[in-house]
């Protein structure tokens, strides 16, 4: 992102906050991966390593009462919405203090009070759901926006297309995104679709679309902010394709030997944290010692979170039976 544009369009404090959340996301997911390698986390670990700028960028562009239906590599969105590292690690450890109290694992967490719709493994399922949230905002005349996405693979599912179509027909205040990280588990984009750019799908629904450098947090933030502003002003949905690369396997168990080494090497130089640091230095907002200090702050947060999660109790087995049905007081007003 051109530094002059950034200097003019993004507040310094916002940019510095985004940098902190990039570092916090990286520290947290590195810790979660380490805990997995030690055998202390069971189940899947899907990280956003090398893609942190997407969730940090878009979540920073939203207002607190907007609603997010994240992709499963959007840890930054949870952190920005106030999920503590302790709660999140507790979730991965299956502890009672995690947002789902052990009912679900890893990034499958949500909280309507904090505006995050819980992820569903069936990719793109939450895109019509987010369109419905936007429909509720429109019916009630609220100035709120829904923001929802999936991966390149998820755009092959019918729910992606049904959501895009419905939102466009009804001009709903929703922004859809695709994290195009080039692989759906082991399947490269060329076996997923006959087009190169996912954004082409938007044309079929009469929806404006934009390709965004997903490794540039400033670019993600600004593109999201434009799309959100359009949605909020009644101009309807926008589709954003965040181009990036999945730098780890699909899940922590996957060595991703099917990804050409050269491709990973090329993308290593585009690491979003390195890119953000370059930008901050160009703007004179930060230097090496500042970056080190932020890194230490993030690590301390994750250390405290790990301790909290490890001290937390596991749920009792009989908790299995609790919560199949809701009670009236749990319905949002």
């Amino acid at each position: 992102m051109d530094q002059a544009v950034v200097a003019q369009d993004i507040k310094r404090s916002d940019l510095l906050d985004m940098y902190f959340y990039l570092r916090l996301t990286r520290s947290l997911e590195d810790r979660i991966t380490a805990l997995y390698r030690q055998g202390r986390i069971v189940g899947g670990v899907y990280t956003s390593h090398g893609m942190e700028a997407i969730a940090v960028g878009y979540a920073s562009a939203l207002q607190p009462d907007d609603v997010i239906a994240p992709f499963h590599r959007d840890m930054g969105a949870f952190l920005i919405r106030g999920f503590s590292t302790g709660e999140i690690i507790a979730q991965y450890l299956g502890k009672q203090t995690g947002p789902t109290k052990g009912k679900d694992g890893n990034v499958h967490m949500g909280d309507l009070k904090r505006g995050i719709i819980g992820f569903v493994s069936h990719l793109a399922d939450n895109m019509p759901v987010a369109a419905g949230a936007a429909l509720a905002f429109k019916i009630r005349g609220e100035s709120r926006v829904a923001f929802a996405g999936t991966g390149d693979g998820g755009t092959s599912r019918g729910d992606f297309h049904e959501a895009m179509n419905f939102a466009a027909v009804r001009k709903l205040p929703v922004v859809f995104f695709c994290t195009n990280n080039q692989y759906a588990y082991s399947t490269p984009v060329r076996y997923q679709m006959a087009i190169t750019d996912v954004v082409e799908r938007a044309k079929a629904y009469g929806m404006p679309g934009e390709i965004v450098d997903g490794n540039d947090v400033a670019a993600v933030y600004l593109a999201s902010r434009r799309a959100i502003a359009k949605a909020r002003s009644g101009e309807g949905p926008t589709f954003l394709e965040f181009k990036t690369m999945r730098m780890h396997g699909h899940s922590a168990h996957d060595a991703a030997t099917y990804v050409p080494r050269q491709l990973l090497d090329d993308w290593t130089t585009k690491d979003p944290i390195v890119r953000a640091e370059q930008l901050l230095m160009q703007l004179g907002y930060g230097d090496e010692s500042y970056f080190h200090e932020v890194g230490e702050r993030a690590k301390k947060d994750v250390d405290a979170g790990t301790e909290f999660a490890e001290r937390s109790p596991l749920p009792e087995g009989r908790e299995t039976l609790v919560g199949v049905f809701a009670t009236e007081d749990e319905v949002l007003p």
């Binding site: 819980g118 399922d125 019509p128 509720a136 959501a163 027909v169 199949v324 049905f325 809701a326």
Partner: protein, 332 residues
């Protein structure tokens, strides 16, 4: 006769009872809105929402694209934000397109992360109307096995209205299976005042001491007809109308079978793995000591619902099936 008395004695059809429930709830609660195919200006394939579009406008009576998964998903999202969507499946058969949204998203959201989904999906189901394999299905069995959903299947205008109101007021996803064979075939005088029929309560539609017949939906009327015939030969059939399949009113089922010691389960969904199988298993687990004969099931064969009249007549349960089963059990 005074005008007031005449109004009170107006007969309401099953389909009008459903329309009245929707109208009442939309008037009572501005959070309630409708979504579905052709429900707007056209008033719905069965005219359940006739006139609603003009009365409530295009944002409370939404015509949707032909995409069941998409609009059920959207209804889930709106419900989580605090609205009370009532979705119409044009035919219950098409609910298969939305299976994933219903079973994976709506049914699991509260259990997984505490999000209430106050959603109703109305689904006109059942045969006897020459609809063929794609317009006659009874798909409730698919959902009976999915924790997190409530399932309702009324048999009378009174229950249809009261159960739909209760479903709309419930904070959970409720599948409301309305039998289209009954739409204009049965009528009743309904109370003028607001009432609900609580979810999870079965109703003994006809008491009897000899054999319990447990059923729901249009089959209730077949059972009542059979009960009348059996009465002539001195066999008293007790007809238990489940009304709600989930939560299942086990107490009423057990109480009836403990009284009669004999049980038949009748449904229009095909036999294998159906609701009858579950009730039969429950009775074996809970009422084994009081049974005087085998638990019998009457249900269509394991085929799609065929189109041609003789085929569909063969497929659907008949009064004679019930009479034969009751005679067989009464002999024990």
């Amino acid at each position: 006769m005074t005008t007031a008395t005449a109004a009170q004695e107006t007969q309401t059809t099953y389909v009008d009872a459903i329309s009245q429930a929707l109208d009442d709830e939309m008037r009572r609660d501005e959070r309630v809105f409708l979504m579905g195919e052709d429900i707007g200006a056209y008033g719905g394939a069965f005219k359940v929402t006739d006139g609603f579009f003009n009365k409530y406008g295009e944002w409370r009576v939404l015509d949707t694209p032909l995409s069941e998964s998409g609009f059920v998903g959207a209804a889930i999202g709106a419900a989580m934000m605090g609205l009370r969507p009532v979705v119409e499946m044009q035919f219950a058969d098409f609910i298969s397109c939305a299976f994933d949204q219903i079973t994976e998203v709506a049914a699991k959201n509260h259990y997984r992360w505490g999000a209430a989904v106050p959603l109703v999906i109305r689904a006109p189901f059942g045969g006897g109307v020459h609809g063929g394999p794609f317009h006659s299905e009874c798909p409730e069995g698919w959902f009976f096995h999915s924790p997190g959903l409530k399932i309702v299947a009324p048999s009378t205008p009174y229950d249809a209205k009261g159960l739909l109101k209760a479903a709309i007021r419930d904070p959970n996803p409720v599948l409301y299976f309305e039998h289209k064979f009954l739409y204009r075939r049965i009528k009743a005088i309904l109370p003028q005042e607001d009432y609900i029929v609580p979810l999870g309560k079965a109703d003994v539609k006809r008491p009897g001491r000899d054999v319990s017949l447990i059923t729901y939906g249009a089959m209730v009327h077949l059972a009542l007809e059979a009960a009348e015939m059996l009465q002539q030969e001195g066999i008293e059939l007790e007809v238990v109308d489940l009304r709600t399949l989930i939560p299942l009113d086990k107490e009423t089922i057990y109480a009836s079978v403990r009284k009669t010691s004999k049980a038949i389960i009748l449904h229009e969904d095909n036999k294998t793995g159906g609701i009858g199988a579950e009730i039969s298993a429950l009775l074996t687990e809970e009422c084994f000591d009081c049974l005087d004969g085998p638990i019998l099931r009457i249900a269509p064969p394991d085929t799609p619902v065929p189109f041609s009249t003789p085929l569909e007549e063969f497929f659907l349960p008949k009064v004679s099936d019930i009479v034969a089963a009751a005679r067989k059990l009464a002999a024990y």
